[in-house]
């Protein structure tokens, strides 16, 4: 381990780093190519993958974003694995690709070296049947325990509509990894007060002190990518992508269309870029306020919860004014946006931003001056920096551990290059730091919305998209409220995509919760878990249709329609 030194590349430019990486990996790869401006893919034999990843991870600071498995048997009778490593400061993604023949699906695991690979490897093992040698945790990640070991749903020869096997044969049996005979077990979820979505944490405790923790999730996983790959056209996917999550749906849609635009080489109009940024920031504020409310609720501070959600009502109303929907805006299409933000509504938007800023400042002061709130979060759930790097955490969690990354600035997209904003960074790594990052970001987002409203350029909303080139690949990346949301898209034949991989930020942020829990109390467990703002809908890629029922009684379809119509009229 002597050679495990870190080489700082933070100040270097993109070209420089590209040549350094070339030099570093010399002899280990066979060929390389650059499908898009910000993605370079190295091809390497599988024996070299561990060494290549080790060398790439030695740079300070790089992180493993995602491992994309692919069934490429139509092209070359092989399966492929692409390890995508992010060089944040250089706006660069480096993919390392290896091909595994169908009859010999084995590769050395890197999960012991890079913790971020842990879930990715387990997922590829479930879905493609690739064996990772040395992977300690052999449990299923996304598939249920009773799923047969030889059925891998993401192979292309596994039909998307094949029925699930007879699950009545055995009950889903949880196999704990830890052998803690002298400890007591507390199950936290899937049905627990703090779990808005199903996840199971198994806490091993001594008294109330957590000694070890295990995770089991993906109860609602249903293979949305498979549906997209098999059946939908390019422009249908944004709508299903937006329904991956009820909170950060627009980031998924944007991320997807950016990937497609990138691989097809489409430049979208300025107005569309600004509108996308506007909606993304509105979504960020909405998501952060939701989180603040939930965090207050978990800490027993219902007043903060109610006030925060009251402000969130304003922002959702603003979204409704601008797009006609409170959530799930349905704005994105490949090549631009669908709906314009009309001029007379911009004034309303400015007013409501002012109102929100005023009310939010009050809430902010109330929260940071509340001594108990600070005591409950300070020094709780500390994620050390080296662990944060190893797990490849993103978003506010990373920024709370002192990692200065923000996709909006680093891999700039939409209109962010023309806008000015600060990225709040704290170094403590505890829940308080994460909270402060989120609290500060709301102010930044409000600023951004005002800037966008001022500088919104004219022009068309979208360009005409003729053809999407076949067999090309790209990544689309968006800073979701929870962090980097990365979509890998590979185009296929017949105007369909061949592979779509969604790696939501929570997918990177939930695994380290295991480390964050250890040593703290049962009382801290909910807030520690909530501090990463876990979005299981994103992580597990199931569909959530966000239903905001503001009404007191259950309405019939007609009534609801009438009411919506009335509301729309009022806004218009």
């Amino acid at each position: 381990m002597v050679e495990f030194w870190m080489r700082s590349i933070e100040d270097l430019g993109r070209e420089e780093v590209m040549s350094i990486v070339d030099k570093e990996l010399h002899g280990l790869y066979t060929e390389k190519y650059a499908p898009t401006r910000d993605l370079i893919i190295y091809f390497a034999p599988r024996e070299n993958i561990r060494e290549i990843i080790r060398r790439l991870m030695m740079f300070s600071y790089t992180r493993l974003s995602v491992i994309v498995g692919n069934d490429e048997r139509y092209f070359r009778r092989d399966f492929s694995l692409t390890y995508i490593v992010s060089f944040d400061k250089q706006d660069l993604y480096i993919g390392v690709r290896t091909y595994l023949p169908e009859y010999d699906l084995e590769i050395a695991s890197i999960a012991d070296m890079v913790k971020a690979a842990w879930w990715n490897e387990r997922e590829n093992r479930d879905l493609y049947g690739i064996e990772f040698i040395g992977l300690k945790d052999k449990r299923k990640l996304v598939l249920p325990e009773y799923w047969p070991d030889d059925a891998h749903p993401w192979r292309k020869d596994y039909p998307y509509n094949k029925p699930v096997m007879d699950w009545r044969e055995g009950l889903p049996d949880y196999k704990p990894v830890g052998r803690h005979e002298d400890l007591d077990v507390i199950g936290l979820g899937p049905y627990h007060m703090i779990n808005d979505e199903p996840i199971h944490w198994r806490l091993y405790v001594k008294g109330e002190t957590i000694v070890d923790a295990e995770h089991r999730g993906f109860h609602n996983w249903r293979g949305i990518e498979k549906i997209a790959e098999g059946r939908l056209t390019y422009n249908q996917i944004p709508f299903i992508a937006e329904r991956i999550c009820g909170i950060c749906g627009f980031t998924h849609a944007t991320s997807y269309v950016q990937a497609v635009e990138s691989l097809a080489g489409i430049d979208i109009p300025d107005r569309a870029r600004y509108i996308r940024s506007l909606m993304l920031e509105i979504e960020r504020i909405e998501s952060h306020l939701l989180w603040i409310g939930i965090a207050c609720h978990i800490l027993g501070f219902d007043t903060g919860f109610m006030l925060s959600w009251k402000i969130r009502e304003h922002i959702m109303h603003l979204a409704e004014v601008l797009t006609g929907n409170r959530k799930t805006y349905g704005m994105d299409i490949v090549g631009g946006v669908r709906r314009d933000v009309l001029g007379d509504r911009l004034g309303k938007a400015r007013d409501s931003v002012k109102k929100i800023r005023y009310e939010y400042r009050e809430l902010y002061n109330m929260l940071i001056n509340n001594s108990i709130l600070v005591k409950r979060t300070r020094g709780v759930g500390v994620l050390p920096r080296n662990k944060a790097i190893s797990y490849g955490v993103v978003g506010p969690v990373a920024r709370a551990t002192g990692l200065d990354i923000d996709v909006r600035r680093d891999h700039s997209y939409a209109a962010y290059k023309e806008l000015s904003f600060d990225v709040p960074v704290y170094s403590e790594g505890d829940v308080l730091a994460i909270t402060l990052v989120r609290l500060d970001e709301v102010f930044e987002s409000l600023d951004l919305i005002e800037q966008i409203l001022d500088a919104l350029p004219g022009g068309p909303l979208a360009v005409d998209v003729k053809d999407i080139p076949e067999n090309k690949e790209a990544v689309g990346v968006v800073e979701a409220p929870r962090g980097e949301d990365i979509h890998y898209v590979r185009s296929g034949l017949y105007n369909k995509i061949q592979r779509w991989r969604v790696r939501a930020p929570s997918y990177a942020n939930i695994p380290p919760v295991k480390e964050m829990l250890i040593g703290y109390r049962l009382a801290d467990a909910p807030i520690i878990y909530a501090s990463v703002d876990p979005c299981l809908a994103c992580t597990e890629r199931y569909l959530v249709i966000d239903v905001d029922t503001g009404s007191k009684k259950i309405m019939t379809d007609d009534e609801l329609r009438a009411k919506s119509r009335k509301l729309s009229t009022r806004i218009g």
């Binding site: 007591d184 077990v185 507390i186 627990h192 007060m193 703090i194 405790v205 008294g207 109330e208 207050c296 609720h297 978990i298 800490l299 027993g300 501070f301 219902d302 007043t303 903060g304 919860f305 109610m306 006030l307 009251k310 509340n370 108990i372 709130l373 005591k375 409950r376 109390r521 049962l522 009382a523 801290d524 467990a525 909910p526």
Partner: protein, 316 residues
């Protein structure tokens, strides 16, 4: 015999008052919290509706065990009888025979019953809740001890009725020690009632209601009612001694004896509502403590009754 009959009637009246006003006070608390949180909030009688709903539900319990079935009834019956012991000046009830230590220890008995139930069930959440409850009781006892001793030293009695009457005398009321001890009584009632910063025991988002987790239907309803009664009894201590007693002392000159009791009762109810409103405002402003964080403030708070005790020694 007329007096005895009167005493019996007052015991029944006080029990009925307790049974009726405890849920209303909770309704008031919810209403005021809602106002602070800019909500409309439930109606004042919502807690009654909740209770009646619980009493009509079919109970689901993990075990059909006599210990589990009987305990809610014991808790409820004990607190119901105890609500006739709330100290009220010139209102004879059980308070004529109860002393403060017994009152607090009987409340403790009910808490211990709940703690035991929580520990008896094989559920770590209720176990953890019970443990927290027990620890909070233990640590807060320092405060209670100084308060009791301070009051016993200053007023020379711990008999509840005696306290309720004696507290109002200007020579007792207008003292610095009384000021501190009165403040301690208000704090005692707040903390013992497990209002928000101190509701570690049944923290819903952490331990899912703690000891009450496995209870449902009328058994949970009884526990809930018992909890409300406990809060009412605790609240009645400072309200009656500090607020009602001096007013009763003043009214004594103008109103004849039998009518005085009724008037005192009215004043008492009025002040209950006012105090509850203040408590609700305080409650809405704080999140919950973690149990180890709560140790320090719980211990530190005992400085207040201690100052009261020292002032009592000095004769101030």
């Amino acid at each position: 015999m007329n007096e005895c009959l009167l005493e019996m009637i007052w015991v029944i009246v006080l029990i009925l008052l307790g049974a009726f006003i405890a849920p209303i006070l909770d309704g008031l608390r919810r209403k005021i919290r809602a106002k602070i949180q800019r909500r409309i909030g439930p109606p004042l009688l919502q807690t009654f509706y909740d209770l009646s709903k619980l009493f009509n539900l079919q109970p689901v319990l993990p075990f059909k065990n006599m210990f589990i079935v009987v305990s809610p009834y014991i808790a409820f019956a004990t607190l119901l009888v105890l609500s006739a012991a709330v100290p009220l000046p010139y209102v004879p009830g059980f308070s004529t025979v109860f002393d403060a230590i017994t009152l607090l220890y009987t409340l403790l008995f009910v808490s211990v019953l709940v703690v035991l139930l929580g520990l008896a069930l094989p559920n770590p959440y209720s176990n953890a809740g019970s443990t927290r409850e027990a620890l909070t009781i233990t640590v807060f006892e320092v405060f209670i001890a100084f308060t009791i001793v301070g009051i016993a030293y200053s007023m020379k009695t711990l008999n509840l009725y005696g306290l309720a009457v004696l507290y109002g005398f200007p020579k007792n009321y207008l003292r610095i020690s009384t000021l501190f001890l009165s403040a301690s009584l208000f704090i005692l009632a707040y903390i013992e009632s497990a209002y928000t910063p101190f509701d570690m025991g049944e923290a819903e988002t952490e331990v899912l209601g703690g000891p009450y987790l496995e209870f449902s239907g009328r058994y949970y309803g009884l526990f809930l009612y018992a909890l409300l009664l406990k809060r009412y009894i605790l609240l009645s201590l400072p309200v009656s001694l500090v607020l009602v007693s001096p007013i009763a002392m003043m009214l004594r000159a103008f109103i004849p004896e039998p009518l005085l009791s009724v008037v005192v009762l009215g004043v008492f109810v009025l002040f209950l509502f006012i105090t509850m409103s203040v408590y609700s405002v305080v409650e809405a402003l704080y999140p919950r403590y973690r149990v180890d964080l709560a140790f320090k403030p719980l211990i530190l708070a005992s400085v207040i009754p201690f100052i009261g005790l020292v002032m009592g020694w000095l004769g101030w």
